[in-house]
């Protein structure tokens, strides 16, 4: 694949939808709980039956405001709802209550790290809207295809966060999403579970030759269900657009679907079928007049946000900026760190474990922090066992993996599996003597000055003891034994 980055640059904008974790829906009292039996969390209002009227849930404004403030936005003093009209069977009213020209918040930003440098990505607007239902496609007993509608999700409050077109690379797009997710988690306004659809993302992307002022024609990418997919889809789409231009073609403005399995984007609908949403002010809801007092009271409730927490970890614990950035990238991870350090006050060691083993295992299992079974108490205990010499560093890693998958306490694992470190000099000396006797050539090498040979001998001892020998003692006893055999 040729590298076009010298000659082209991409212009990327993201639209993120986050379901708010209010207990009830945006315009009625129905539950928002995920995973209920189809069509059990519904009422005439969220079903859009004839004659019903929406009544705004005040929490929806509060949550959206909270997130918007965390994103450094200005909160409008006057805002309103609009209807976005389109036909779809999961949309009971065939219009969605949304916000069009007067969103709740605008002019914000968040900061990402690009090559170790902070970079500010603008937030154009944050607005409130209602979610649609869900279609389930099945084959009936007669062999025909049917579509069933589950309206449980209808009316669940959504917040849409639209970035400025400040993003230039797929990596930046991913960093933006990760930062945004962290901020939403910190403010506790959304669960941000992509797998449950509570966080969704659409991407607008165009390319232009470097130095060119005007934007190129953009396409919209939909149907991505992970941050990695967003990054991959962008990589593909940017390359595709550049190739079209290089071959003298033109980009068609269209919506494209990301096909995760094939790793390609494909046209979904063209501009000629572009929707006219016929927005107009929602006459069933009165405009929102938001007084400053309310905004300030929500602002006072804002928790410590990722950037502030990162600074605190650097200052308070002396963590390297890189470590602090990784630790604070997720609220759950940062809380795990804090809780562990409280029990085991060696921040750098804890951070090494979290960034190393913990994240490695989370990635390998595709899990979120909250899904892992390991606890801060467990990690702290493990680190103490290591310090006390009960287990070696290598054993500790194996024990941690066991803790991660079973949730058992480290002491119990060590006991059950007989992993206690061999620290008895007599036992080790015996094995050392055996190894020295069995490897005369290596011993010779060592004695003639080849330091490396020692590592081999240590390895042999560890092998014999199944890794349980105290490495410090092995080293010490081996050197003494060899010195004596000179």
């Amino acid at each position: 694949m040729p590298d076009w980055s010298e000659r082209y640059e991409a212009i990327i904008g993201l639209e993120v939808h986050a379901e708010l974790k209010t207990e009830s829906k945006a315009f009625c009292g129905c539950s928002t709980a995920f995973g209920a039996e189809p069509n059990t969390h519904v009422c005439p209002v969220c079903l859009g039956l004839p004659g019903v009227l929406p009544v705004l849930n005040r929490k929806v404004i509060e949550y959206t405001m909270k997130a918007a403030l965390a994103l450094n936005c200005e909160i409008a003093s006057f805002s309103k709802f609009d209807r976005k009209n389109y036909y779809y069977p999961d949309l009971p009213k065939n219009y969605q209550i949304s916000q069009y020209d007067l969103p709740l918040a605008s002019h914000g930003y968040l900061t990402i790290q690009v090559d170790g440098q902070p970079r500010r990505i603008g937030i154009r607007r944050v607005h409130m809207e209602e979610d649609a239902g869900k279609l389930v496609h099945v084959t009936g007993p007669d062999g025909r295809e049917y579509s069933l509608v589950d309206y449980n999700r209808t009316g669940v409050p959504l917040m849409e966060i639209v970035s400025e077109s400040d993003i230039r690379t797929p990596e930046e797009a991913r960093a933006y999403l990760e930062k945004l997710k962290a901020i939403l988690e910190y403010t506790e306004v959304s669960d941000c579970k992509m797998e449950e659809g509570s966080l969704r993302c659409d991407v607008n992307v165009s390319v232009r030759r470097r130095g060119q002022k005007e934007f190129g024609t953009k396409t919209e990418l939909k149907n991505m269900n992970s941050f990695r997919a967003v990054q991959r889809a962008l990589q593909y789409e940017i390359q595709r657009q550049i190739e079209v231009l290089e071959e003298g073609g033109e980009i068609v403005q269209e919506t494209r679907m990301w096909d995760e399995a094939k790793g390609v984007t494909a046209s979904m609908r063209g501009k000629e079928e572009a929707q006219d949403y016929r927005y107009f002010p929602e006459p069933d809801l009165v405009p929102l007049v938001i007084d400053r007092e309310w905004v300030e009271s929500v602002r006072r409730e804002l928790p410590e946000l990722p950037d502030a927490r990162r600074e605190r970890l650097i200052k308070e614990y002396g963590l390297p900026p890189y470590d602090a950035g990784v630790i604070t990238s997720s609220k759950a991870l940062a809380e795990f760190f804090d809780a562990t350090v409280a029990l085991y006050p060696n921040p750098k060691v804890v951070s090494n474990w979290i960034m190393g083993e913990f994240l490695r295992l989370l990635n390998a299992h595709g899990l979120e922090v909250r899904q892992a079974q390991v606890t801060p108490q467990g990690l702290a205990e493990l680190l103490r066992l290591q310090d006390q010499g009960t287990i070696s560093g290598k054993i500790a890693k194996a024990v941690f993996e066991e803790m991660f998958t079973t949730g058992k306490a480290p002491g119990q694992i060590v006991k059950e599996k007989g992993l206690v470190q061999i620290s008895d000099p007599q036992v080790i000396e015996g094995i050392v003597k055996e190894v020295v006797a069995n490897n005369p050539a290596v011993v010779e090498d060592y004695l003639s000055g080849k330091e490396k040979a020692l590592a081999f001998l240590v390895g042999q001892v560890m092998k014999q003891t199944k890794g349980k020998a105290n490495p410090g003692l092995v080293n010490q006893i081996l050197r003494e034994t060899l010195a004596r055999s000179k």
């Binding site: 005439p44 859009g48 004839p50 019903v52 009544v55 036909y87 065939n94 069933d284």
Partner: protein, 493 residues
């Protein structure tokens, strides 16, 4: 005097004194509906069993000595766009022909709480769109004063039922005059309260920012009585106002001395029936005789109200009616073999809606579409604010404004069916009130060629008390209370 000839207030007295039972009153009305309604066509659904049960309950409660509300045991009929739990609510449309709501409109809840006896659901123009009640998917309503004429629309069934004494009173809805215009054409009292005065929850929406529920009654006293029962803030309707409801009957004493009455010159136009004009002018003379000061007023943007209305109302309607797609409830067009969801939508709506509804959906869709929004919808909203401002400044000088309710008496069935524009002119004098959101009441003020004519009294927002006071004074002065069409002879012949 037969029971059905009494007004709701008179019935209330008799019931309270236990001179009649709710059951007797209800039976009287049910018999009358059975004898008469084939000719009138006011009802779409008669809930005889429910009505008898409700009447029985009221009688038992009264027998136990319970203190009951004034409306307890009095039979009411509801326009078929008010949702009634367990009772078909069709909006006179094929598309909702089988719809049974699982809930009551707030107004219906309030009536039930007041002990009302529900006789059934009334015919109307489909989705409340029309001025003659000829747009019902289930057949037209006939004017009780002349069965060859229209009752007006869209609460034509409501006005006809009250005029023909097939219900003690009725509840209708008014988006551009749909209570007042048929009230005038049928010789009854009809009020559109202030927007926000009565909850719209459960009223099948036509144009949300204009719709308002109101009473159609035999006289002004009943109107005051019913308004007090149905008005008030509703947490289920964000646009309903939290402003206290008065006992509107209190000030109905005929005393309007010193009242400042404005006569907007823009309402006395060319093309208005001369008899209608002279009847309204006579009302103005009488008001002066009663001690009011009547002066010319001006509402300069009146001529733009109708065109602006025909952008705003269809725009909202196009969106409100989008939900009738055959997916979740109501009528779904059947077809053989595989079909796309879009085909199903289109066929359902093609078969389910009548021509007037389709016309307005098209108008509204066009007015809202990108590229036309600014020129049409947005412009109409600006006109709407100018109309509001006209009223605001008029009400700085006047307590009420007096205008005709309609330009002509009831026209013949079929006369304007093929000429939608001339039909739209029927609501010329009522539409500005909806655009401004203010209250207005129509009361009978005489007859033209044997057909009733109404006069309209407009008031300040939430000042229903004052317009009722003036309406009562007119009613008493002209002696035109509880008018009865000469139907008896025809009906029982």
């Amino acid at each position: 005097m037969e029971l059905h000839e009494l007004t709701a207030s008179q019935l209330s007295q008799l019931l309270k004194q236990r001179e009649v039972s709710a059951r007797e009153v209800t039976d009287a009305y049910l018999e009358r509906i059975e004898a008469l309604d084939q000719k009138i066509g006011a009802y779409l659904t008669v809930t005889a069993d429910l009505a008898r049960q409700q009447a029985k309950d009221i009688d038992q409660r009264r027998a136990r000595g319970e203190e009951l509300p004034a409306l307890a045991g009095i039979p009411v009929a509801l326009k078929d766009n008010l949702c009634t739990q367990g009772i078909k609510t069709t909006c006179a449309s094929k598309i909702l022909g089988n719809f049974i709501p699982p809930y009551d409109a707030t107004v219906v809840e309030k009536l039930k709480a007041n002990g009302a006896v529900i006789l059934g659901k009334l015919n109307m123009d489909e989705f409340a769109m029309g001025s003659s009640n000829e747009n019902s998917a289930f057949g037209p309503v006939h004017n009780p004063w002349d069965l060859d004429r229209v009752p007006g629309g869209s609460s034509g069934g409501a006005a006809a039922a009250v005029a023909a004494r097939e219900a003690a009173y009725a509840i209708g809805s008014d988006t551009g005059g749909s209570i007042r215009q048929p009230a005038a054409l049928c010789g009854v009292v009809g009020m559109k309260p202030t927007y926000g005065r009565v909850s719209r929850y459960g009223l099948v929406a036509f144009a949300s920012s204009l719709d308002q529920i109101g009473p159609l009654t035999r006289d002004v006293t009943d109107c005051a009585l019913v308004l007090a029962a149905i008005a008030g803030h509703d947490p289920k309707d964000s646009t309903s106002a939290d402003i206290s409801v008065l006992d509107y009957r209190k000030d109905l004493n005929g005393d309007i001395k010193g009242m400042r009455v404005g006569i907007p010159k823009e309402y006395f136009i060319e093309g208005m029936e001369p008899q209608n004009r002279s009847l309204v002018e006579k009302v103005i003379e009488r008001l002066e005789a009663l001690g009011a000061t009547c002066e010319e007023a001006s509402l300069p943007h009146t001529e733009y109200a109708l065109p602006a209305y025909y952008l705003v109302a269809p725009a909202e309607a196009s969106s409100n009616l989008a939900r009738y797609d055959g997916v979740g409830y109501g009528f779904r067009a059947q077809s053989e073999g595989p079909e796309s969801i879009v085909d199903m939508y289109m066929e359902t709506r093609r078969q389910g809606f009548g021509p007037e509804v389709k016309r307005r959906i098209m108008l509204g869709t066009y007015a809202l579409s990108s590229g036309y929004y600014d020129a049409y919808y947005l412009k109409a909203l600006k006109v709407r604010s100018l109309i509001r401002q006209d009223f605001d400044s008029a009400f700085e000088r006047f307590d009420v404004l007096i205008v005709p309710t309609t330009p002509t008496p009831a026209f013949r069935l079929g006369e304007k069916v093929d000429d939608p524009l001339s039909m739209y002119l029927s609501d010329l004098f009522t539409i500005p009130v909806n655009m401004a959101g203010i209250p207005a009441v129509s009361v009978p003020c005489g007859f033209a060629g044997g057909l009733p004519v109404g006069v309209q009294i407009m008031g300040k927002a939430f000042d229903e008390a004052t317009i009722l006071r003036v309406a009562y004074a007119i009613e008493q002065d002209l002696g035109l209370s509880n008018l009865c069409p000469p139907l008896e002879v025809k009906a029982y012949a």
